[in-house]
């Protein structure tokens, strides 16, 4: 996107009323989102530029429940005049959810290429992992496709120093 030569660093209000985009989730629910908020998703940005005429974008991989929250996140982060501290507090509350929901957010952020949400989700999981042993991690996140004992031995053997 090119900007006019005289534009300042901060965004100026668009000359026309805010353009709304409609997203349709995998289970058929629709959600409206301002175009400025939708641009936080690189995937949506590309789709908007390609399908200029249509304002309905299907998002087949994401359920209505998750999509609603993702729309909320993007809208909040596109808001002007929110200071870093309150946005940080809002983000903290946003990710204070059960693991399944958190992974849904991460998956959605990955699919829609929303760097802010992906960073937030991944950092939250990283903070949960820190200091835990592999067994504890398996239990916390209910991972069943775990390493076989031989595979685990292989890792431990290679990097024994980390397991002391």
């Amino acid at each position: 996107m090119s900007s006019p030569p005289s534009a300042s660093a901060s965004s100026s209000p668009p000359p026309c009323p805010k353009k709304m985009i409609t997203l349709r989730s995998s289970d058929g629910a629709t959600f409206e989102i301002e175009e400025t908020a939708a641009l936080q998703s690189k995937t949506l940005e590309n789709m908007i530029h390609e399908n200029c005429a249509s304002t309905l974008i299907p998002v087949p991989n994401i359920t209505g429940e998750v999509l609603a929250r993702v729309v909320e996140f993007c809208s909040k982060h596109a808001e002007a005049g929110v200071d870093d501290e309150s946005l940080g507090a809002w983000d903290e509350e946003f990710v204070a959810v059960d693991h399944t929901t958190l992974f849904d957010y991460i998956r959605a952020a990955n699919f829609l290429e929303i760097p802010t949400l992906l960073d937030l989700g991944c950092q939250t999981v990283a903070d949960m992992i820190k200091g835990k042993t592999p067994d504890e991690i398996k239990k916390t996140f209910k991972i069943t496709t775990a390493c076989t004992p031989e595979e685990e031995e292989e890792v431990r053997g290679e990097n024994q120093w980390a397991f002391e």
Binding site: N110, L118, C122, I143, T144, T145, V155, N159, A162
Partner: protein
């Protein structure tokens, strides 16, 4: 969790960053192991995270670090905080780590003590580095024809020994540099050279801390923020094109300070603990009609002519929205300007502070409140740790009562107390 793509697991491990945590977590399952091997972008080895790097000896730590780094592919960010060790690491091991990662590395934090020199500039110049934080090292023999940091945007040198000439040359090898931090630099100067001169057309942010130099000249046509902290200088000169927006001085004494004539874009001026010995300091900023935030805190005026009257502040800066003032009211000097009929029309946040509390302070608060008709927030900032005698504590009690009365009168103003 199991349906998360492997790249996302890599992102999660990258945010974990601390090497030991990453290795342990990757033993959870085969997918995580592969994520560490192929999709890990960020790794950190720090004595602060695990004392084992020090406790098991540098030679052992060196082996483990080498193993772990060599098990990765495509690392973009590497942090080596291995200064607090009992013995120095082998230079050849460290060079091996840097050579292995240099083609993809974008960010390097390097604080390592080695036996023998590691020439970071030579190893990492001509590569993709965008961010370099160097601590407790020395730089010499900069060769601008031999290497360029074509992508370097941010450079931080902390406790680094470098000559004035090499510093100047180093900045010239960074055509895209936007941020430069110099913290406790040990700048050697030859007898012929008394001035440190740094020039960058792309530099936007400059920070210098804990140094005493004769003369520092910064030429930066795109500079937006300038921050000096705990410095003692004879001369500091900024040569630019009037792009400066944020100017911060903290615990600095400088005989001659010059930020140029074009100060139209100044948005924030934050001055604290500053000995104003340079003439016309206030005149220098007084032409910044767009100024929105001003802090004048713990100032010492060598020259009575320099004392700023509050009325002058109101007249020079009509757009001011945040004002922070603290002074030693024993002089009664700053109350002089408060009998005029001027207003800070746009000030919404007012911060007033004392270092020595006396009866005059609450009067000052009341007078200032009258001058700020649109105030939304008042911050009272005071030092209370040295109020020890009964009289002194009584002063605080009287002051508290006075402020309670003020708060009853100005019910729409949020009041915050910050006591140290």
């Amino acid at each position: 969790m199991e349906s998360l793509p492997i790249e996302v697991i890599g992102s999660i491990l990258s945010r974990l960053a601390a090497a030991r945590d990453v290795v342990v977590a990757s033993a959870t399952c085969r997918k995580w192991l592969e994520a560490r091997r192929k999709h890990l972008r960020s790794l950190s080895f720090s004595v602060g995270d695990w004392s084992g790097y020090r406790d098991y000896g540098s030679s052992q730590a060196g082996i483990w670090i080498t193993q772990t780094i060599f098990q990765t592919a495509g690392l973009e960010s590497l942090s080596l905080q291995l200064d607090d060790v009992d013995e120095e690491l082998s230079a050849s091991a460290v060079v091996a780590w840097l050579l292995y990662t240099r083609e993809t590395l974008r960010s390097l934090r390097y604080n390592v003590r080695t036996i023998g020199d590691v020439n970071i500039l030579e190893i990492c110049g001509r590569q993709k580095l965008e961010n370099l934080v160097l601590s407790h090292n020395s730089i010499s023999g900069v060769e601008p024809n031999y290497y360029r940091f074509a992508g370097l945007k941010s450079l931080s040198l902390s406790h680094v020994s470098i000559s004035a000439l090499d510093l100047s040359l180093l900045v010239s090898t960074c055509p895209k540099l936007e941020k430069l931090d110099l913290i406790s630099p040990v700048i050697a100067m030859s007898d012929a050279q008394v001035t440190v001169e740094v020039s960058s057309a792309t530099l936007r942010h400059f920070y210098i801390e804990a140094t005493s130099l004769d003369k520092f000249v910064l030429e930066a046509d795109s500079i937006e923020s300038l921050h000096l902290k705990s410095c003692s200088l004879e001369l500091f000169e900024l040569i630019g094109k009037g792009t400066l927006k944020h100017f911060k001085i903290d615990d600095v004494s400088v005989l001659h300070l010059d930020i140029g004539d074009a100060v139209d874009n100044l948005d924030t001026v934050d001055v604290r603990d500053f000995t104003i010995t340079s003439p016309k300091f206030f005149q220098m900023i007084s032409k910044s009609a767009k100024l929105r935030r001003l802090r004048l805190w713990d100032l010492m005026f060598d020259d009575e002519d320099e004392i700023v009257e509050i009325e002058t502040i109101a007249l020079c800066f009509p757009q001011l929205s945040h004002l922070s003032l603290s002074c030693d009211l024993r002089d009664e000097v700053l109350l002089y300007g408060l009998h005029g009929c001027f207003h800070f029309e746009n000030v919404v946040v007012l911060e007033l502070g004392w270092t020595f509390l006396n009866d005059l302070f609450s009067d000052w608060v009341k007078l200032m409140l009258k001058c700020c008709p649109n105030l939304k927030k008042l911050i009272i900032n005071g030092v209370v740790s040295d109020l020890k005698t009964h009289e002194e504590r009584q002063l605080l009690a009287n002051f508290t009562l006075a402020i309670v009365c003020v708060m009853r009168e100005y019910v729409n103003i949020e009041v915050v107390f910050v006591y140290k």
